[in-house]
């Protein structure tokens, strides 16, 4: 490139204001080239001509699509929880540990004082009992209500809900189950704390606003027991016990702002028709010893089922005492079958899996001290033997003479008379059982132990008490049976527990077999046998229950060669049969009672027809309610 070319380019570059203009190039030398004659050479000598045009640029770039951050709308779902009742129970900081605290159940507050911080937290984190929605909770709100509740343990950890003892793991599960169930039959074996689990579940429901009015119905003798347990486990809940004359009872039924009422079955049947409107409605009705309504025709059962209520709980250690049909009446109360329904066994089994919670001691209480059963076979004393043999012979002859007109009640009458003689001879007062009892009680009294004794007859209990007072005054016997006025019963139990000189409590099966906590007694005597081993178990479990610290020795007196031995044999066979079919007999008390056929079978009864004789027995299908009523 020569100088002139450089100048032109430079001029072009420096003229920035007129960057693009017409450029005229006047002298652009062409390189030397040989030109061949082509006929077009003149065109090559013409100067080229360039032109440029002005083009305007856009001041900014165009975008095809705009996007900016905008808050998206998020759909939400929400629910609020009922307010519930607030409890303000003061903490018992100074309470010493109770001597009767169940094994492994030390007073909770004391335990928490000992440990704190991470150590305690990590201990609690081991196992938390969460609430599950019940099967009949269909709406999302209902299901979330349960899922969002804190674990039972943390409810009870709060200052608001203090428990005297820490519940066992199975009890937490029971509380949680009850809390979630609108219909529940808690059928834990006797002694596992059905009362405590119910009370605690009621507390939680009150606190979560699920309950305002609750009614607990129990047998009359158990009223003091409920009062005591409520005071122990839920002292902050105002409780009214329905009692007194008609005017007072009406006032107690209708008084407002009382979250919890306790009434007995008899008063419920008597009073409830009189209560009207809102005051007759309850959020929860609890039937304790719910086998009381097993007869669906009875007025008590009818009234219990008629109470307007949102939740129905039944408590019993023996959901079936005699026949599976008894369970149907309880299911009617739970409102899971229609009235007068007749579910078959398969349907009952399904209902049981949905609405019954049953745990046995073997299953959950590995640490409960052993129960030692001793069958004491005793020979009757001579005078007793004579009286017995005479009575039996005369009785059987009399029955045989009755022929076809014989009924179960006639046989039953004889059985009772013979059983009474095995207890003691009414004429001479001789008694092999009393002799043995006196020997045992002397040892127990001397060692400071306590025993409870059960008999079928209150008269027999009075007789034992009188005789022991003469023969063994240091045994300090006390009597607790249906003949003792209700007001005097609770002090008797208290004295038995606290008086170091009271070593024996004489109780009737009817009054003392259910609901009482006598775990401080290490000995149980069954002076005579009940008809149903389930009732005997109930009696024994007054002592062999949570809180028992030592072995419980159970002594069953059986008079050798008498009706007692035969009854014992029948009951053993039935137990063995159920063990074979169902495993643990305590899992089911199905048909353990003796029926009419079995009671007839205790004697070899025959009727004479001309020269021939034939055995007398009721038809197999006959209703055995009379014998079971025993």
């Amino acid at each position: 490139m020569n100088d002139s070319e450089s100048n032109r380019i430079e001029s072009f570059e420096t003229n920035t204001e007129q960057r693009i203009h017409t450029i005229q190039i006047r002298n652009i030398p062409l390189p030397d080239a040989k030109i061949f004659a082509s006929g077009m050479n003149s065109a090559l000598n013409r100067k080229p001509h360039f032109e440029a045009q002005e083009i305007s640029l856009t001041p900014s770039a165009n975008f095809r699509q705009g996007w900016s951050v905008r808050t998206q709308l998020v759909t939400t779902f929400g629910m609020t929880f009922p307010e519930g009742t607030q409890f303000f129970t003061k903490k018992k900081e100074e309470d010493p540990p109770r001597d009767d605290a169940p094994p492994g159940n030390q007073p909770w507050e004391a335990k928490h004082r000992e440990k704190s911080g991470q150590q305690e937290l990590s201990k609690r984190r081991k196992k938390l009992t969460r609430l599950n929605p019940p099967k009949d909770a269909i709406s999302l709100e209902d299901r979330l209500f349960y899922l969002l509740q804190p674990p039972i343990e943390s409810w009870l950890n709060g200052q608001e809900l203090v428990l005297p003892f820490e519940p066992f793991e199975f009890q937490y599960e029971g509380i949680s189950w009850l809390f979630s169930q609108k219909s529940a039959l808690l059928a834990d074996e006797m002694g596992l704390g059905k009362t405590m689990q119910s009370i605690t579940a009621i507390r939680l429901l009150l606190r979560s606003g699920q309950l305002r009015r609750t009614l607990i119905i129990c047998p009359k003798p158990l009223i003091p027991n409920w009062q005591r347990e409520l005071k122990l486990w839920a002292e902050e809940i105002p409780v009214v016990t329905i009692e007194g004359d008609a005017v007072r009872r009406k006032m107690l039924w209708t008084i407002e702002n009382i979250p919890l009422r306790v009434a007995n079955y008899e008063l419920l049947a008597r009073d409830f028709d009189e209560i009207e409107g809102e005051l007759s409605k309850f959020d929860l009705v609890v039937l304790d010893e719910a086998q009381r309504i097993k007869n669906r025709d009875a007025k008590t059962a009818r009234v219990a089922k008629e109470i307007p209520r949102k939740r129905s709980w039944a408590l019993t250690g023996t959901p079936i005492e005699n026949r599976p049909e008894e369970l149907v009446s309880l299911m009617e109360f739970l409102e899971v079958v229609p009235q007068w329904a007749t579910p078959d066994l398969r349907q009952l089994s399904k209902l049981a899996s949905d609405y019954i919670l049953r745990r046995t001691k073997n299953l959950v209480l590995k640490d409960l001290p052993e129960r030692l059963d001793r069958d004491e076979y005793l020979d009757l004393n001579p005078a007793q033997q004579l009286a017995y043999t005479t009575a039996e012979k005369d009785g059987v002859i009399h029955l045989n003479e009755m022929g076809e007109s014989i009924s179960i009640s006639h046989v039953f009458e004889l059985v009772l008379r013979l059983k009474q003689i095995t207890n003691f001879d009414p004429l001479t007062g001789e008694s092999a059982k009393l002799d043995r009892l006196a020997v045992n009680m002397e040892e127990i009294s001397n060692s400071g132990g306590k025993a409870i004794l059960f008999s079928q007859w209150t008269r027999c209990l009075d007789w034992i008490s009188e005789r022991l007072r003469q023969r063994l005054p240091q045994c300090g016997s006390l009597i607790y049976h249906g003949g003792v006025p209700s007001k005097k019963r609770e002090p008797i139990l208290k004295r038995f527990e606290e008086d170091p000189d009271s070593h024996l409590l004489l109780m009737s099966y009817g009054t003392g077999a259910v609901g009482l906590n006598l775990q401080f007694a290490g000995y149980v005597f069954l002076y005579d046998r009940w008809w149903n081993p389930a009732v005997e178990d109930q009696a024994i479990n007054r002592a062999h229950r949570i809180g028992q610290k030592s072995k419980v020795i159970v002594t069953k007196f059986i008079s050798r060669g008498t009706i007692e031995e035969r009854i014992d044999k029948v009951l053993r066979q039935k137990r063995a049969l159920f063990e074979q079919i169902l495993g643990d007999p305590s899992e089911s008390n199905l048909s353990l009672s003796m029926n009419a056929e079995e009671i007839f079978g205790l004697f070899d009864l025959k009727t004479r027809s001309g020269d021939t004789t034939r055995s007398i027995a009721p038809p197999k299908a006959e209703d055995d309610s009379q014998s079971n009523a025993a």
């Binding site: 808050t71 991470q118 990590s122 999302l140 299901r143 899922l147 804190p150």
Partner: protein, 183 residues
């Protein structure tokens, strides 16, 4: 930004999220009293980012979805305004930018990685607490609040409830949808 002036006697909000299939996220906020008793619960329907959001938010997408979108919405929605918001997801700590109450994350000390001596980290009853770096005074405010908490309060436990409730709500929604489409 939501004001906390209407806060009632001590209540605590527990906020967490769970991820469902197809990268959908649902969040739940449980407000309890100081004993852990539930007072109110709010949860969202499943939230997911579209492709544009995913590209543009990049690594901050999850924080945006959890803290700003879900957390803020839930906090605005609850009628019982908590005095303290607790979360078990560190990413959710960003919700602090949208509320005027102290926010902290909680986890078991045993699971905590790294030092816990920084100004935004502390321990309390066997738990590691973390605060937002721009709101260090939250630690002091929590200290005041913690005086009112019962002896056995556990700040981790309620998250199990919230997660179970979120799963239940999701199951419920799916069942309802299936029933609807089936009919």
């Amino acid at each position: 930004m939501t004001d906390e002036t209407q806060a009632t006697p001590l209540s605590i909000g527990f906020f967490t999220t769970i991820e469902l299939a197809e990268k959908e996220i649902v969040g739940g906020l449980l407000v309890t009293d100081r004993y852990g008793k539930p007072l109110e619960f709010q949860c969202t329907s499943p939230v997911s980012a579209n492709k544009t959001q995913a590209i543009l938010f990049g690594p901050t997408l999850k924080s945006y979805l959890i803290a700003e979108l879900i957390g803020q919405s839930l906090f605005q929605k609850v009628s019982v305004k908590p005095n303290l918001l607790v979360t078990d997801q560190e990413i959710a700590l960003e919700v602090r930018q949208f509320v005027r109450i102290p926010v902290l994350t909680v986890e078991e000390v045993a699971k905590t990685q790294g030092a816990i001596t920084t100004q935004t980290t502390s321990t309390w009853r066997g738990r590691t607490l973390r605060y937002h770096s721009e709101h260090r005074s939250d630690a002091n405010r929590f200290e005041e609040i913690s005086q009112k908490l019962p002896e056995h309060a556990d700040l981790c436990e309620p998250f199990e409830r919230v997660r179970e409730a979120l799963r239940e709500a999701n199951r419920f929604t799916q069942t309802s949808q299936n029933s609807f489409s089936g009919s």
